[in-house]
């Protein structure tokens, strides 16, 4: 993970049907941990949501063959069950629950050492790429992840 660049996913472990499993390691050090929290560094819950959203996003991008862009628009039933800190390797699972017209709904969860860290149901709006640079950047990162 590169928290400051919002690059939350390190690699894709598997992609089967409408589900993806990705892996990532929370960095040992980041300015984020200087504030969250002094003397007790924790991965912020909002960044765990972002991590689940990105896993969902990569899944949807792959399912759409990188033709359109998913944007996070709703988070439901988010539960943060365990603290997770610097240096922790996490596994993120996401599956598409529903393929709607211009949107998709996913269910995602993060685990570490076999323990559930958090889970949520996410709604993503599916749009045409608003900028060619974004389409190119997503495709390039998708290639690095073995998806594109």
């Amino acid at each position: 993970m590169r928290l400051e660049y919002f690059q939350m996913i390190d690699r894709v472990a598997s992609l089967q049907g409408e589900a993806i499993t990705v892996e990532s390691t929370i960095p040992d050090a980041s300015p984020v941990f200087e504030g969250h929290f002094p003397g007790y560094p924790l991965m912020p819950g909002v960044l765990l949501v972002e991590t689940m959203a990105q896993a969902s996003g990569w899944l949807l991008l792959k399912l759409m063959d990188f033709s359109r862009m998913p944007f996070l628009m709703g988070v439901k039933e988010a539960k943060f069950r365990s603290f997770v800190g610097p240096g922790t390797a996490v596994t993120v699972h996401a599956e598409r629950l529903h393929d709607g017209s211009g949107y998709a709904v996913t269910k995602a969860r993060i685990e570490a050492g076999g323990k559930r860290i958090c889970d949520a149901e996410l709604t993503l709006r599916i749009m045409d790429f608003p900028a060619p640079e974004l389409a190119a950047a997503m495709k390039q990162r998708g290639q690095e992840l073995g998806l594109a």
């Binding site: 529903h98 709607g100 017209s101 709006r125």
Partner: protein, 93 residues
Amino acid sequence: MASSFDRIADIIAENSEVARENILPDSHVINDLGIDSLDFLDIVFAIDKAFGIKVPVEAWTQEVNAGTAPAEQYFVMKNLAARIDELVAAKGG
């Protein structure tokens, strides 16, 4: 079984702050009920699940924006219910 209108009105009431009794056949979902785009997608998701269909919101929106269809055709409650009935019939339901 309840009519499509009643089922859709129930879904809207459950997924927004609009009181069920204020949802009438001639209510415009956006102009009269004040449903915003985020709530509307939640409602569409619930309709998709309840009726086993895929409401073509993108196509409807494009038609309205292009001026090839009046918004009332899709977004007034009684017409929305009729469109849902058509989608259900088209899938053989």
